[in-house]
């Protein structure tokens, strides 16, 4: 960059607007969530106490701090319902991510090995469903999985089953929905790393007499680990907090944490507990989010 001041980019001016926007609408809300998670439910509008009265100055602030309570967190740790909900979310996210890797890897590998001219078309075919509504894609599965739906119809005709089976409102349906909705997020980062891989490495291995499966195991797989990690995080993190898929496809025995938060907020109108759930969920996801961010920043900086 140039040393003369008038030739330099005025980064401060460029960054001002997005910085302010994110500070007001992304950072501040989290502070408020934290604050309300330490409040108590009340039959009032807004439905929590204490309400911070800035007009009262320091005295008001001290009064406010005195009334804060950890009741919501105590409830979260004492009631098994919440713990089970967290565990269920982690379980669904982990299993879904493993299935996604198992399906997404051969898919991405196949695209990366396809003829060069065909590859952009295939990538677009993977991305295209991502542009159609998430809700529509989940809804499409209800058509198929419901009791008088197509899957039962086909299975009955093929005589795989004798009586209509229940597919909807089950964990199976949740997994199908998750894998279906998140597949592009797994395939794209995997494809990006597999496509960039230097073919001469594979040639060298082949020339030295390494069998193909061993080349894959020793060369391709280690080199694609980063894409796999990026894809896995890109799927795992949002799946833990997923609401729409378990709500429309899943059963009602054990709710995922996103559903529990939704119910606390919309049905029970318990804002402090909903906020406490959000804080705990964020705490749970903080480590994977930070790892993902580091990966993201590194890959963008390496592109330079």
């Amino acid at each position: 960059m140039n040393g003369e001041p008038e030739k330099r980019w005025n980064v401060r001016a460029i960054v001002l607007l997005p910085y302010l926007w994110l500070a007001v609408f992304f950072l501040t809300p989290f502070v408020i969530v934290l604050k309300i998670s330490l409040s108590q439910t009340a039959l009032a509008q807004p439905p929590y106490l204490p309400v911070l009265d800035l007009a009262a100055g320091w005295a008001g602030l001290i009064e406010f701090a005195k009334e804060l309570s950890v009741d919501s967190y105590r409830l979260l740790s004492s009631d098994l319902l919440y713990l089970l909900s967290y565990l269920k979310s982690l379980q669904v996210a982990a299993i879904s991510t493993i299935i996604l890797l198992a399906i997404g890897y051969p898919f991405a590998y196949g695209i990366a090995r396809a003829p060069r001219g065909l590859q952009p078309l295939l990538v677009m075919a993977v991305v295209l469903p991502f542009w159609t509504s998430f809700l529509i894609r989940v809804y499409a599965w209800i058509n198929i999985l419901q009791r008088d739906g197509l899957l039962n119809d086909v299975f009955l005709r093929l005589q795989i089953i004798n009586a209509p089976a229940t597919w909807l409102s089950s964990d199976t349906a949740i997994y199908i929905g998750m894998v279906y909705s998140y597949l592009p997020f797994m395939v794209l980062p995997l494809y990006a790393t597999l496509e960039k891989m230097d073919d001469s490495l594979l040639e060298a291995a082949a020339d030295l007499g390494c069998p193909r499966w061993k080349t894959f195991w020793l060369v391709t797989l280690p080199l694609s680990v980063r894409g796999a990690v990026a894809g896995a995080l890109l799927c795992f993190i949002p799946i833990v907090g997923e609401f729409v898929i378990p709500d429309l496809l899943g059963g009602s025995e054990t709710l995922m944490i996103g559903q529990t938060l939704w119910t606390e907020f919309f049905s029970n109108r318990d804002w402090p507990v909903a906020s406490a759930i959000a804080v705990m969920l964020l705490a749970l996801l903080l480590a994977p989010i930070l790892v993902y961010e580091r990966l993201q920043r590194r890959s963008l900086e390496e592109g330079r």
Binding site: V15, G110, W131, I136, N143, G258, A278, E293
Partner: protein, 271 residues
Amino acid sequence: MKRSASLFNTLSVALGLAFLYLPITILVIYSFNASRLVTLWGGWSLVWYRELLHDVAVQHAAWISLRVAVLSASAATVLGTLAATALTRPGPFRGRLLFSGMAYAPLVMPEVITGLSLLLLFVAINVDRGFWTVVIAHTTLTMCFVTVIVQSRLIEFDRSLEEAAMDLGCPPFKTFLTVTLPLIAPAIAAGWMLAFSLSLDDLVVASFTTGPGATTLPIRIYSEVRLGVKPEINAVCTIMIAVVAVGTIASSLIAKSGAARRQRAALGAQI
């Protein structure tokens, strides 16, 4: 190494694509089903589309969603492009680390958290919830996607073009407008499209931040879907899929013709 498509590779791609497209195809086909029952095929018919013409609630929701999407995508594109520009310039500013953290975090943040926290902000500052709160929420939600897309383009392109302009005495702002902006325009357009479709799609954040009179299309569809499959919803979804498909194909054609034109220009310059 020859890039031969082995049977295994072809099969995994074919199966993957079938998995991605089969459910959507079935949905589209059944939107033309004359029968109300899902398993019963009653012949081709446009009856559910005709029904939609009389469904004022769905039309109203679609109109609101469309306006929210256009406004929030435009705001997100401006903010995201500025953020991407700032992130790719080496100049120092206070809180750079915090900023880059905030710029990427919404990408993976669970929507229930984003929605809840924005709602609590609106309640705390005593704003009536409705159309504009959804616009603000969607701008916040989608700007990080614009940032990432524009940033990857800014990293790719040839910085020496900018430096040449500035060395010749062009001020930075004018350089940005006349050199940088045209070069990153395709990425900005792609960012806008993505922000638009994400906004059109969002249920969770909109549910938290909306108010009376601002029911978006996904909220409407969701409340209908919870009661079971309805053929009218199949028709709504088919229309949305058609709009998205036409938009995507058109934009990729435009991008392609632009690339072809640039290539021809480059060839012409060589000759």
